[in-house]
């Protein structure tokens, strides 16, 4: 987000961000090199492929899955993922009868070490306000229609714990290896606004 990375035409939020960044740097309150490094870290090195590894491991190893559901922080750290905004984790298992979905109504709390930085829609006022009052309608807009008998649990990330949804393993994947399964897992399925599709039915 340093000056060199901005594009030529900017309006609205981009201009405000640039102005804020310049002012904070002038006052010595931020170090722009630190910002550049943070952006590079979360653009290049830390992202949802980490969470996909956790999910694929849980799908293929029932003993790991039990550990993950009992002490998510430790189990996730076993795979080498831990750090800022993921110090205290909890995993929510989706089943045929219970569907979990995660939001942060107050801001945009999100498990950075395993999913990277949140998508813009997750940080938006419409998602944050509607997920808690009309989750079925919000999921429908994401293309996920859940039967009325499925119980929906909405998790508002209001404190220090960060949540990861463990999506259901799709049918027809019994012969797939852990690495092949990793490739199926999407970021949206680990937030809870989508399910994971088997290869034959993927769009």
């Amino acid at each position: 987000m340093s000056a060199e990375r901005h594009t030529a035409s900017e309006t609205g939020p981009a201009v405000r961000v640039k102005a804020l960044e310049s002012l904070l740097a002038e006052k010595g309150l931020i170090d722009q090199k630190a910002l550049d490094l943070l952006v590079e870290t979360y653009e290049q090195r830390i992202g949802p492929r980490n969470g996909a590894k956790v999910v694929a491991r849980a799908w293929t190893d029932p003993v790991y899955k039990a550990r993950l559901l009992r002490d998510a922080s430790a189990a996730i750290a076993e795979l080498g993922f831990s750090g800022v905004q993921g110090e205290d984790m909890m995993v929510l298992e989706n089943t045929a009868t219970v569907h979990n979905v995660v939001v942060c109504t107050l801001c945009s709390c999100y498990p950075w070490p395993i999913l990277g930085l949140p998508p813009v829609w997750y940080k938006s006022a419409p998602y944050r306000s509607r997920a808690v009052i009309d989750p079925r309608g919000v999921l429908r807009e994401f293309g996920l229609e859940l039967p009325p008998e499925v119980e929906i649990r909405v998790w508002d990330t209001s404190a220090e714990v960060r949540y990861l949804v463990l999506p259901e393993r799709p049918a027809g994947t019994d012969s797939m290896t852990e690495v092949q399964l990793e490739a199926l897992v999407t970021r949206d399925s680990m937030i809870g606004v989508a399910k994971v599709s088997a290869p034959a039915t993927r769009r």
């Binding site: 205290d88 119980e151 990330t157």
Partner: protein, 117 residues
Amino acid sequence: MAVLKADMVPTVVRTGASTKHADQALPARFTHGDRVVARNMNPIGHTRLPRYVRGKQGVISHDHGVFVFPDTSAHGKGPKPQHVYNVRFDAGELWGPTADQSVSLHIDLWEDYLERP
């Protein structure tokens, strides 16, 4: 005020900054299954109790352990460590009788936000 420098970034990213408090043995006021009410408190300063649950009745689902309390800590008034609970609220309780009864809301609340009904 401490400024995050580039050479600090890898360490901070890797180790994080958990506010989980050292004294996890602090007694808990509530336990799984307890009925609680989120206080109708409306502080002028910082809080992490959203308006939509204030005054609503829920059930303790999980005890996450002891954490620093942001309402005091954000204002330099000390950590006031306390238990943080995951509390379940039914959609009907939050949004009224026409709400989707298959929906429940789970939210993490500090002990100071809660009282017995």
